[in-house]
Symmetry: C2
Subunit: 400 residues, 2 copies
């Protein structure tokens, strides 16, 4: 469901039916990206005839996915000037996030706007997955009720988790900061809509790709909450890896004989730039919202905090040197908690990249989406699946 | 020209014409992969009707790209049982390799067989690119003459170089072991066929993908001659990076404060596992074919050589730990000179991957193609371009 790459596999038969489905998708994507627009304008943008586009548009209107905003040229013959927009009623993409210290759910319409939302602060570390997911299902129900009053119905739910998710399954292989292992989220989450599960860094990167203005189609998105993850976007799609485990930046060796890491390795990036490591080096003990405290201390010029962040930035720069040499991304985007600490992390990070001649083409930038990225990316992955194959939901929403 | 990913970009109009071209390609690919085969069998494999396939096949026969091997069921009505094969005459893909100590050119028919070949041992380090490329053009001429006697004509030439090639251009940004910088190969190579240029590791990976039995569609190919490069194959296509510079495994930091590297960094993999570093640590001075000497000494149990290779394997394991965590490839394939040294490199390399929990799904394997990979991959990239879009060469070869 997430990040289809529009790839034509050799061997897939190319039929009239397949062509029609792809063209319906192109029309819907164009209106979603540029709407409100006229039929003529859609035809021009996607390179089909006006007549072909009209047939496709009529089908999408019947399915409840497009709507006409009324004539823009009063008195015109037929409806040549009526503007098309993606429907704000009907199918909605639901996104959810299981964080180490919170749960969140939102409903997004086909235009990409969040229309309903619920959140709970709760410490999930070490709790039984079944209990956590039952609470998440309660939030899903609340958001569903709210969405229904707006004429929206969930067509799918995508769940972001801080862990490794086995590709094309609903199973979390491991989420060390939650204490989950081989957890079948799809089986344990009592909801009755199609479900997908993915790593929070992946959904965060997709949110950046789909929602941030002028986001390049190729970038490495670095995400940190408790752990450090990354996601690589290539030509507008995620590089997931064979098992779905790509992007484990937190376990790239920075100093191969450095401190032991719970992963079994030594000197992994997380041992220098993970939240726990930075807090410990700053002398900050247990308590709520410690990243805010960290930022405040750094702002105030606290020496230990500044030194800890310098060390974290240097380690990030060394690990990213390897990543940039291997992947040659257009940009590196710092997201999640890292974006709040960017003023102190960026200078040492950039220094390492520069002296090791590993600066990406467009440099290192800070996320424009912020900590909501994973939740928004999850919901939007469901919305994109509808735009990619409009007829998949047509029978749910079309009037007979 | 190299490694088209069969990707349908949103916004590309989907037309009858485009569909026909893709289906012609599917038929030709199927016969190339599985031929000789009957029309019925092609139809079954690609999921089109027998009638549709017959029309496509007739067009490919008229274009000289397919041929009929004669009826297999004598007395049948029409030609239902005649077996189809890709033509062994007509278009040929030319591949060339500029090595640090050799030049090579080959001609490959559409069946993927090398039909003509020329090679020269010559030290290219520090020579003017114009001189090197003029010599290469002479080899191309020799091979062209030989190919023509076999009824083959070059439709394109792909050149493998040991350096960074700017994506979608014929320009080598830098090839340190040749001493090339910003070298416009396309402008300096006096040949009159369409030209493409790419990194030797990329072509080596493609050769592995296209020619090795049971090669997975996702793997990291590590290649070493003088430098160390890598290429990542994802879903059957190369990950090139934004500028075309992806795969620079040789400059992944292994020990961030290690020895200085000419790239500007410190402790890069090449400082531990590059040919120069290993030869120096083994106490082997200047001379011809030093990798053979290295293998002989290791075989004989020479302590310095064994220790040097152990160090190289360990460094490779550390750098690959980062690469596997970032990319999650199905396998790591050791190619080029590394494949000859695999007996001594593999054990320390695997030990690092295992203790750092970075073993790829299918482990580390040794290339089945060997040092010819880049040359074969280059030629086959031209052949694949014909299979991907048969009509691109139809006007060159079709009888009127």
């Amino acid at each position: 469901m997430t990040a289809p790459m529009h790839r034509h596999r050799p061997g897939t038969p190319d039929t009239q039916q397949g062509m029609r489905r792809r063209n319906l998708s192109r029309v819907l994507h164009t209106v979603a990206a540029d709407g409100p627009v006229s039929r003529a304008s859609v035809a021009q943008r996607i390179g089909l005839t006006r007549a072909a586009v009209s047939t496709l548009v009529d089908e999408l209107i019947r399915a409840g996915l497009l709507e006409e905003l009324g004539r823009q040229r009063p008195g015109g013959v037929g409806r040549p000037g009526s503007a098309l927009a993606v429907s704000e009623r009907g199918p909605a993409g639901f996104g959810a996030e299981v964080g180490v210290d919170h749960l969140a759910v939102c409903a997004m319409d086909l235009r990409g706007e969040v229309r309903a939302r619920a959140e709970r602060r709760v410490g999930n570390r070490g709790r039984a997955p079944r209990v956590v997911l039952r609470e998440l299902a309660d939030l899903v129900k609340r958001v569903t009720v709210e969405a229904e009053t707006l004429g929206l119905a969930p067509v799918g739910l995508a769940v972001a988790v801080p862990g490794r998710v086995v590709r094309d399954t609903g199973t979390v292989a491991s989420a060390p900061n939650l204490g989950w292992q081989d957890t079948d989220v799809a089986a344990l989450l009592p909801v009755d809509v199609p479900l997908s599960v993915d790593n929070e860094a992946n959904f965060g990167a997709l949110a950046e790709l789909w929602r941030a203005a002028e986001c390049p189609a190729d970038f490495l998105h670095v995400s940190a909450e408790i752990g450090i993850g990354a996601a690589l976007v290539v030509e507008g799609g995620l590089l997931r890896g064979t098992r779905g485990f790509a992007g484990e930046l937190g376990h790239v060796p920075v100093r191969p004989e450095g401190p032991e890491c719970p992963c079994g390795g030594r000197g992994c990036l997380e041992q220098y730039a993970g939240e726990e490591a930075v807090l410990r080096a700053s002398g900050i003990g247990p308590g709520p919202d410690r990243v805010t405290l960290l930022a405040e201390r750094a702002e105030a010029g606290d020496r230990d905090t500044r030194r800890a962040l310098r060390g974290a930035g240097t380690a990030l720069g060394i690990a990213l040197t390897g990543a940039v040499h291997l992947l040659d991304p257009r940009a590196v985007v710092l997201g999640g908690a890292l974006s709040r600490l960017a003023p102190w992390l960026l200078p040492p990070l950039e220094r390492e990249l520069t002296r090791r001649t590993a600066r990406p083409a467009d440099g290192v930038v800070v996320s424009r989406i912020g900590p909501d990225g994973p939740l928004l990316g999850a919901a939007q992955s469901v919305v994109r699946a509808v735009l990619d194959d409009p007829m998949s939901v047509a029978h749910d929403t079309a009037a007979p």
